[in-house]
């Protein structure tokens, strides 16, 4: 009897024991530094203060960094989701070689951010591949700059295109998995009632994909707020974003308080975006597949 109680208790504790190492590690390596960063951001001269945030907002590049970050997020993330949705739909109709196509489409995922930025830099620089091709075709007469402070529009387009190229695959992987979970019977039922392909997509597939789209949006948006290496490679000083401002404050100016303030701002934006997605794309329990 006594032994059974012990065994029962041990059984109940097992899951907790198993998750304990990972939880402890995350607390030590993530939660504590996070709290320290928040504390650092709100302190100046040993007292509670908003001085670091004032320094941050007073920086001559702060407004540009905010605008640039939001421009890229608002342009790149919807594009990525739309593209990935289309790609996931096309994948459904492949009978053979589906895995190989997914594999090829996710190649950019395997490349580091900085390397991806450098690849695009090689394409778009003055003597890069794009200008070489345009010159051979007779469209331009000599080297043209696309990435300078004098050409902010093409610089923004270049960064958005590069982000789309690099990170659409992660959205695709999430959505393709979601599409596989949707039972074929729903589409067949819609067919029976005479739905057009577009109606089947918007009325059946999209609502059922909602949880996957939510996950993909949260993941991509949070990562887009943190974009750094690719933007540094293509834009450098010409395209400040929140993360590059953080980096400069931390390493170039060694102003740790302001760097922490930037980090807190980026975290707040990420949490805000996540909450918006959770609210807007909520799936009522009765609709869960």
């Amino acid at each position: 009897m006594h032994r059974d109680v012990m065994r029962g208790r041990f059984k109940a504790a097992t899951p907790y024991l198993l998750v304990a190492p990972a939880t402890t590690l995350l607390c030590v390596l993530f939660l504590i530094p996070l709290l320290q960063t928040i504390a650092l951001a709100f302190r100046a001269n040993g007292a509670f203060s908003f001085a670091n945030f004032a320094t941050m907002a007073g920086d001559i590049n702060f407004n540009d960094a905010m605008i640039n970050t939001f421009e890229v997020v608002l342009l790149a993330v919807p594009l990525q989701v739309a593209l990935a949705l289309g790609m996931a739909m096309m994948l459904r109709h492949l009978k053979h070689g589906r895995d190989i196509v997914i594999w090829i489409w996710s190649i950019p995922l395997g490349i580091s951010d900085l390397a991806a930025g450098l690849v695009w830099l090689a394409i778009l620089t003055d003597h890069g591949y794009l200008n070489t091709i345009l010159y051979r075709l007779g469209i331009i007469g000599g080297p043209r700059s696309w990435l300078t402070y004098e050409t902010p529009t093409t610089l923004l387009i270049a960064i958005v295109v590069e982000e789309v190229w690099r990170a659409t695959a992660i959205v695709l992987v999430i959505l393709a998995a979601g599409v596989q979970l949707v039972p074929k019977e729903y589409a067949e039922a819609a067919d029976v009632f005479g739905a057009s392909p577009w109606q089947r997509f918007t009325r059946v597939m999209l609502p059922l994909l909602r949880p996957s789209i939510q996950t993909a949006l949260i993941l991509r948006t949070v990562l887009a707020f943190e974009m750094f290496a690719t933007v540094m490679a293509l834009g450098g000083r010409n395209f400040p974003v929140l993360m590059s401002q953080t980096f400069n404050a931390q390493y170039a100016q060694q102003d740790y308080g302001t760097a922490a303030a930037y980090a807190v701002l980026i975290m707040a934006l990420s949490i805000g975006a996540t909450l918006v997605y959770l609210r807007l794309l909520r799936t009522p329990p009765e609709q869960l597949p």
Binding site: I60, H127, Y149, M232, G236, R237, N248, Q254
Partner: protein, 424 residues
């Protein structure tokens, strides 16, 4: 309390390989990487008659280590090799001995007077002997030379002539081929601090928002229309020089040398231009000083004499790429690119209007914020076309705050100050 603990700790840790009795300990913040330190031991010190223990040390540790020796009472270090800015705080620590007699005996070395004056560190005595140097200068592709303004001499160029030169190339070829290292990895702030400001205003901090500075920024912003717009991406100017995107460029010697080495026949090297107040330039100068209560002051003196011999200076140049401070004829087998660089450095410091401006001194951890003020000012005026008066009025209080927090007194070419340097 914390510092005391650190000092005690370091005194304990100071038990680095103890030299044999006869060795002269040479502590250096320069030539620290293993390859360079090995070259120091095996090549540069090869012909020295005497035993030397060469000990590389982090710059930040230098004053801590000397204080530890002072307080602990055991002295091991005889000779100190470090940058000008690293030696300066040692004067206030009373860790150096004056070297006036030694300086007099080295008169035949031909060390430029401007460098010897720096070696006084603002005192009446010679506190260190110049050892080796580097600086910034300009490199031009020979394709650009036909467009030089009439009567312009490369070794005595002015900012006005540089602007005319770039404008002439732009007008005739449609290319903007003047380049500056204004990218995130570039050293544009050093150009502003050590070259532009001293040349136009004769100072840096005190004259930050003077009428001369306003005129300077207006002139520089006007010149920028002929500057390659990719400049805000450039880090090391040797790359656009080699690719042909840029024909005329300013940078640190270490960031130009590859271009000169790879294509010595295509490039010329020359001093940075002069403004109304002279040819401002930023020497990167390392010096040799003797520690107070050194266990082997005679060994240290003879080591200084050896290291400033023309032959040793050439050996140093060949081995580690630092340039001589003494008059030394470059040997025939010296790399032609290195020769070009050496000639440009010599032309810079021997220019009649040379105006040495030091690396910011005494800013400690605020150095990055100081540089940011310079780059922000550049960005506001040159890239965003703000009125110089407005931008300088915005940045001046920020600059003052940095100096106040660091409690940094003025450094050359600003006149010495009692407290923190003041923006006038």
């Amino acid at each position: 309390m914390f510092l005391g603990a650190a000092v005690t700790l370091l005194a304990g840790a100071a038990a680095f390989p103890q030299p044999a009795d006869a060795d002269t300990v040479f502590l250096s913040t320069q030539l620290r990487p293993i390859e360079e330190a090995q070259k120091m031991r095996d090549v540069i010190l090869k012909d020295y008659q005497g035993k030397v223990t060469y000990v590389p040390e982090q710059p930040a540790q230098l004053p801590i280590r000397l204080r530890a020796e002072q307080e602990g009472g055991t002295h091991t270090i005889s000779l100190i090799g470090a940058l000008h800015g690293e030696l300066e705080p040692l004067v206030t620590l009373h860790a150096l001995v004056p070297l006036d007699a030694l300086a007099a005996s080295l008169a035949d070395r031909g060390i430029p007077a401007s460098l010897m004056t720096l070696g006084r560190l603002g005192t009446p005595h010679q506190m260190y002997i110049p050892w080796m140097q580097a600086t910034y200068f300009m490199v031009a592709n020979k394709k650009a030379l036909p467009y030089l303004p009439q009567g312009a001499n490369l070794d005595a160029l002015t900012y006005q002539q540089l602007a005319e030169w770039a404008a002439a190339i732009d007008a005739k070829t449609g290319q903007r081929v003047l380049g500056f290292p204004a990218g995130p990895q570039g050293l544009m702030h050093r150009f502003i601090e050590g070259f532009l400001y001293p040349s136009f205003t004769g100072g840096l901090v005190t004259t930050f928002r003077s009428p001369a500075a306003v005129a300077m920024w207006a002139q520089f912003a006007a010149m920028w229309k002929d500057v390659n717009p990719n400049s805000t991406r450039y880090g090391f100017m040797q790359e656009p020089l080699l690719s042909g995107d840029v024909w005329i460029a300013f940078d640190h010697v270490a960031r130009l040398l590859d271009a000169l080495r790879q294509k010595p026949d295509e490039f010329v090297a020359f001093p940075a231009p002069a403004g109304p107040k002279g040819r401002g330039y930023m020497p990167v100068l390392a010096g040799l000083a003797i520690a107070k209560d050194a266990p082997d002051p005679n060994g240290a003196e003879s080591l200084i004499k050896y290291l400033t011999l023309p032959a040793t200076q050439i050996a140093t140049e060949k081995a580690v790429g630092f340039f001589p401070v003494v008059k030394a004829a470059p040997p025939a087998e010296l790399d032609p690119g290195v020769k070009l660089a050496a000639a440009a450095i010599a032309a810079t410091e021997n220019a009649k209007d040379a105006l040495p401006a030091l690396l910011p001194v005494g800013l400690g951890t605020h150095g990055g914020e100081f540089d940011k003020v310079m780059i922000d000012t550049f960005q506001l005026i040159v890239l965003r076309h703000e009125k110089p008066e407005a931008a300088l009025a915005r940045e001046a209080p920020i600059l003052q705050k940095v100096l106040d927090e660091a409690k940094a007194p003025c450094w050359a070419p600003d006149p010495p100050s009692a407290g923190a340097c003041q923006v006038k």
